[in-house]
Symmetry: C2
Subunit: 327 residues, 2 copies
């Protein structure tokens, strides 16, 4: 099938960029040094490509992602890097399951739901989940007392990964990881799990990096000057033109908007509405033209779509279900 | 089932609010005076409730919505209020199908794809689809020459529906509708289709109103002082707490973010990330607490979810698939 034959809006991944990004990351962080985060792509076919590049331990954000990865035979070592209150679905999985805990309540939930392995989630500066560093040892002891295997610590420096200034990124990453190492000294275990695409090469303290977005990138991460290329776009069709602007069939229900408007190269994007993007092209557009729309944020964009088309030039070489959506 | 037994994040519709909004709108715009826009809810079960309140002609934004409505037996009179280049799927539907056209290209697409009825889409001030008023007559003649039944005009005053100031809303609505009436005088036909929730009662020029959001409302429309109540929320579970904030399991993949952060009553929302909302509650929260999260924009929020739970007090009285998602 040709790209032009796709109904729009259609989610496209550039095959060359994908391979470049996979190979670049696998060279930098081989094997288990990378624990790819599947929340970025929610697609077991892409996870399988990551496994083929040597990364067979994965990070998930939801129970549904854990279930889908286990069902796809990718459950060698799955970390749910998130707190869960009702853990019963996790205990049923045919996979090695490890869950983040950061409180007595989440430890109790893990143990009572039948989960056997946990990491202590540590707050390293992002106001989200994670215990304070001085609590990590106490929580690890509590988890062990409840029969859980404590595999180590995790701590996501989410306030750092998106900083444009590399010096600031390095400095704040080190500060964050000192907190995590302090916690690890109390907790023990093999895993020191942290990081994201923005800190994949400056976080030298964690022994596994949870990067996800590197695989196809987005406008937000593109600003950081990383060696990964942007390969995820939306194909849209121009459905209406006026002298000063054009309108294509790709809108708020096809795009994560938390990082702002998407980009259309050679055009200024005016605004998006539910099923439309209005933009001013530098060259006149015609009804029926196809345009590529580059999203600000990859994760919530992909989560809107049922399938991802892998394209090489003007050929659709594969079509994969986005099979880890929902909860 | 009790609300407390739902896995989170879960999309909830308040049954009393739904009934209030349906009844209020049906009293104001009975029968075919309202052509409910299903893009707001993407749910044939909700469309059926609208039909039970007397509105049996519907507005859609996508081909998938048209297909789903036809398959659900709700195809008495479906208007695709959007331009389409590939109309072949529409011609196969067991429904009365009318499509918006605003150019020679879209008229040709309608005729060649087997569509039989159209409306001329007129730009009434929103820089999106729609021809300029002076072109409407020429396009109608062209459509008729191609054998299409031209049912009338449509023109969406989307730049007006969200204005807080009622006087401005009324004044700009009138300006927009004068353009539409001018076009209608050239085009002819029975339909003068326009409007949205924000202009449902001040747009007295259109003979059918395409409102959708009124059914459950959102933070954006709540500011307008309309008689409809907000009934769509997300149920989330607190998974982590700190002295100054709490974190619940509802984030960017559960919420349309183009209108900004959602609201949590009794709390200040700090930010959302992929699967989390961080907020500062006025009263201390505990892990396991349930919170309600009120989205800024209903349409792209619902489009993330597989199902909608109808709740009355603490009881889940029904669960409906969001079956019109995708394209």
């Amino acid at each position: 099938m040709k790209v032009h034959d796709l109904q729009t809006p259609a989610l496209l991944a550039d095959a060359d960029v994908l391979e470049h990004n996979l190979a670049t990351m696998a060279a930098a962080l081989p094997g288990a040094r990378l624990r790819p985060h599947v929340k970025a792509h929610k697609c077991t076919a892409l996870a399988r490509r990551q496994a083929e590049h040597g990364h067979r331990h994965f990070t998930c954000a939801t129970i549904r992602e854990m279930e889908g990865m286990a069902a796809a035979g990718l459950g060698e070592d799955l970390l749910l890097a998130n707190e869960v209150i009702d853990t019963r679905r996790l205990a049923r999985l045919d996979a090695r399951v490890t869950v983040a805990v950061d409180s007595e309540a989440t430890i109790t939930a893990a143990a009572s739901g039948g989960v056997r392995e946990v990491v202590i989630d540590v707050n390293v500066g992002l106001p989200r989940c994670g215990c304070e560093t001085p609590d990590a040892g106490r929580l690890a002891a509590l988890a062990r007392a409840k029969g859980l295997n404590v595999r180590g610590v995790m701590g996501y420096e989410g306030h750092v990964v998106g900083l444009d200034d590399r010096d600031a990124r390095e400095r704040l990453c080190e500060e964050s990881m000192q907190l995590l190492l302090t916690a690890h000294a109390q907790v023990g275990g093999d895993l020191i799990s942290a990081g994201g695409t923005g800190t994949y090469d400056c976080n030298v303290w964690a022994n596994e990096i949870q990067a996800g977005s590197y695989i196809l990138m987005d406008n937000a991460y593109a600003k950081l000057g990383l060696p990964f290329r942007q390969g995820l776009s939306l194909l849209a069709t121009v459905i209406s033109v006026s002298p000063s602007y054009a309108v294509a069939d790709c809108g708020l229900k096809a795009l994560g908007m938390d990082h702002g408007n998407p980009t259309v190269y050679g055009a200024q994007v005016w605004f998006c509405s539910d099923e439309h993007i209005t933009f001013a092209p530098e060259q006149p557009a015609r009804v029926g033209d196809r345009v590529r729309v580059w999203p600000g944020h990859i994760d919530p964009t992909i989560a809107y779509h049922e399938r991802l088309h892998l394209v090489s030039g003007d050929v659709v070489v594969d079509t994969w279900p986005i099979d880890l959506r929902g909860w």
